[in-house]
Symmetry: C2
Subunit: 247 residues, 2 copies
Amino acid sequence: MPRYKMTIEYDGTNFVGWQRQKSGLSIQQVLEEALEKFSHTQTLIYGAGRTDAGVHAYAQVAHFDIPYIMDAFKMQAAFNALVRPYPIGVLKIEPVSDDFHARFSAKKRSYVYIILNRRTPAVLDFNRVWQEGRHLDEKIMQKAALLLLGKHDFSTFRDSECQAKSPIKTLDEFTISRRGDYIFCFVKAKSFLHHQVRNMVGSLSLVGMGKWSVKDFQQAFLANDRTRGGPTAPAQGLYFQSVSYED
Amino acid sequence: MPRYKMTIEYDGTNFVGWQRQKSGLSIQQVLEEALEKFSHTQTLIYGAGRTDAGVHAYAQVAHFDIPYIMDAFKMQAAFNALVRPYPIGVLKIEPVSDDFHARFSAKKRSYVYIILNRRTPAVLDFNRVWQEGRHLDEKIMQKAALLLLGKHDFSTFRDSECQAKSPIKTLDEFTISRRGDYIFCFVKAKSFLHHQVRNMVGSLSLVGMGKWSVKDFQQAFLANDRTRGGPTAPAQGLYFQSVSYED
């Protein structure tokens, strides 16, 4: 069957997350229902990353199979017309070979976590950033974040409901920079544990506030124990940024 | 009476604009009502720029007088608590001398107009950009925009309801740049005619699409006639960016 790769932007605020769940509406469900309407086939859409409720995507990637060839441009227009009431946009559709798998072929996943570091509540970025009024020193946060690079046991930043077989992951990038009141945390890895990014950012925020030293952070990390970690940063600051399928 | 300068961010989507109007809720009204609640005085708040319905602000500036001295930090917190249901945030309050006037002391006003130049509807930027699916050549738009720099009659870009005495304005900056699918139009002047920025951007978009040559644009501009100009770009792409009170 012809296989298609799709790239999707969404505002995760009012969804239960990417993946279908009985508890409410997911991005996956909206897209699968749109696909069924215009293609008259019931098909699963597989995403590269299962974003949580409230987490956004600049460029989620997914794939699906349909029993006949359709023009990618027309499919994109059909998707965008049918998902219209929802904050979901299909940026691109392209035919791919049938050994392409959005999730299993992914070589690197990139996320960005955005903190609005000011006392005034978020206005233009409401539901799109973590607004934190206490001053955060992004330079000391960057210093602590560098300890996470490479292959490690990330149990301290792993949610208790994480289904991964192993807590060992390899982190390729953790760059923290400030522009005005905004702090951007860029992370990249082949894959992440459940809540790993939000838990890393939450612990780093304690360092940024001066509640933890870099050494405290390091000890929490090396303890391989979630109860030693800091809080989970809120979902609304997190964006699935991109997926790479190249080595 | 002590005078205070305030800096305000807002999402203009659901307002009739900055200025009080009988037809609906304005940003000015929300702020004046909040001020009345915590200061127990009825006072006008004067804005630096009268943004239209749907136009946003990163940093609108305004001033007001109250009959006693109040801590600026506490006032800011009171404003932000009281405007809470609305997408308005007070970024800063500072005491100023009583000859400061948010509107009349302003030396330069900066706006940015944001175009999302892609076929997919705006998602994360819904109501925050002008989404235009036809490709725009930002380099040729920049070339045409340079013709507007300096002191000119801007009648071609002046709304019929404009109350300014003269159509002569001096434009100090018009910079157009692209980042991915986003085109940013930065403009700066002491002051603008009603709808001037949106009318300039609307006409430039015709150049960007290839419907007008730079020469067509120049001839429309020199005609000093609104009926020769292009369409008015939609409000949701426009942001009041900053005001300068320095020479």
